[in-house]
Amino acid sequence: MSDTLILSARWGKPDSAALSTYRADGGYAALDKALGMEPSLIVDEVKKSNLRGRGGAGFATGLKWTFLPKDVRPRYLTVNADESEPGTFKDRYIIEHDPHMLIEGIALTCYALDIHLAYVYIRGEFARQARILEKAVEEARAAGIIGSKLLGKKDFDLEIHVHRGAGAYICGEESALLESLEGKKGYPRLKPPFPAVVGLWGKPTIINNVETIANVPWIVQHGGDAFMALGTGKSGGTRLFGVSGHVNRPGVYEKPCHYNLKKLIMEDAGGILGGRKLKAVIPGGSSSPVLAAHEIDISLEFDAVKAAGSMSGSGGVIVFDESACMVRALARLTRFYAEESCGQCTPCREGTNWMEGICHKLEHGHGTAADVAKLEQVANSIAGNTICALGDAAAMPVQSFVKKFKAEFLQHAELHRCPSGDHGWGLTQAPRDAVAGPVRYAR
């Protein structure tokens, strides 16, 4: 398996966010190369690369790009930096440590797709990251990289703006993001039409995740085939995997997209805290179905994780050791979805509150076995019955936690307390030294 680093190669270098650092390391050479290419050839390279969306859905990026209607202008690009899925913390490091890689990716994408206006929708809580990105965009504009002429020579105007959100998980859903960018509350839109056809202000719009776009310069520079070769099957390239929870070395690790989950946790992230046993792993952000300890010896490639009954999603791996209480964990997650449901669809608006209430009851010793059955029933009634994927995202953890740890749920109901006492979050609850690629964050 290759050790090639695409996304985190420059992280940790002195002043890595500066334009001069990026340029000294060959930055914007891909854009220079692209300006001598037919735009459609760039799309072909991205198609060949097997780049799949890094925001969670894993949809083929090149294919998404071809959904743009041929003859409608203007078109827009929006980059999704609304990183809010619990367990996911990767896009922020791209912005913090290498914002120009993202800007070059945006410029390449816009040139390839004849787009002249791009927005980066960044979650409101990322104040520092928004400042870094705004500064980098300003630098690129002042250097003539974007603006009226790409790289100061190609007659192609491009403007990039940073748009800050204001605290709403739902705005990571692409159509809710567009509503929010139009100055409204984040209610997802009914699809079809998909945003590539009817998007921002009713015009064709491509929405890609930060990490997805950040891969484009490398693909243009080294070719789609080289990117494809780093992965396997229908997934090319490397990915940023975030590991958090009960591990010795939490952080973000760039690995080939088919890296082994067990190896990631046990070797790269330093194994389980205190030498305790592993209990459960959420492999791709809080919405992905939980895996029991014996189910983690799998490839993290999108289709492989799907075959294992979960999702590789956003690459956010959350690890629980044997001292953690699964009822407590699910109670917290159901509270998150109840809090973040936008309220548009009844099954999700009502159902998420029911799930939160039942989990709370079980956690505090007031539940019964009938409540456990009711919990599953409510989750099943939400799944598939809502406009956007938040309904499914709320139902999947509930369905999988109850299925895989049913005995623990029933014990809570029978004993009217947590069988493992009151340390519901586990025995070790303290910050740890962390990493982001080559960067170390001492606690």
Partner: protein, 169 residues
């Protein structure tokens, strides 16, 4: 709350002028016929200048963006970072979602409540702090994390929390 409670004319004039001055460069980010897209930044600006997004501030933003006050109210009440009511001088927002709590977030929540003498989320009686639990801040590797006045602090311990709050004006 309806928008009838306060009109734009009730806001201090010099601050309204400052609002207009600072809104101008924000508006340049959106096409001239899509000014309403600036609703979140406009309300954020209003919050920074007037303390919170009152009905009058909502009406001001709506007026400048050429849209209805109800559109401003829809946005002001939907997003958790927009405050429709006054808050304490400093806003302390701790993440207690799963990755943070696995690293001590839940214990910090209890600690912060004790420290600020609050039984639950809310404001201290002297109006100095508003304490709140928030959802995942995207700091799961460097957990636990909190926002203080919208700036992020990570890898928190009770000692770090003491130092951060102690350093506030």
């Amino acid at each position: 709350m309806t928008n009838q409670a306060g009109g734009v004319e009730g806001l201090p004039r010099e601050k309204v002028e400052q609002f207009d001055r600072e809104l101008a460069p924000i508006l340049k980010r959106y096409p001239p016929d899509r000014k309403a897209s600036a609703m979140i930044p406009a309300l954020r600006l209003g919050q920074a200048l007037f303390g919170h997004v009152s009905p009058a501030v909502q009406a001001l933003a709506a007026d400048r963006l050429g849209t209805s006050p109800s559109r401003a109210e829809e946005v002001a009440t939907f997003y958790v970072m927009l405050e429709t009511h006054p808050t304490g001088k400093h806003l302390v927002e701790l993440c207690t979602n799963v990755s943070c709590s696995l690293s001590g977030g839940d214990q910090l929540w209890a600690y912060l409540k004790r420290k600020l003498a609050l039984a639950q989320a809310g404001s201290t009686t002297d109006g100095r702090y508003t304490l709140r639990e928030v959802e995942c801040l995207g700091s799961c590797g460097t957990a636990p994390a909190m926002l203080v006045d919208e700036e992020m602090y990570e890898q928190l311990t009770p000692q770090k929390v003491d130092a951060i709050l102690g350093g506030l004006k």
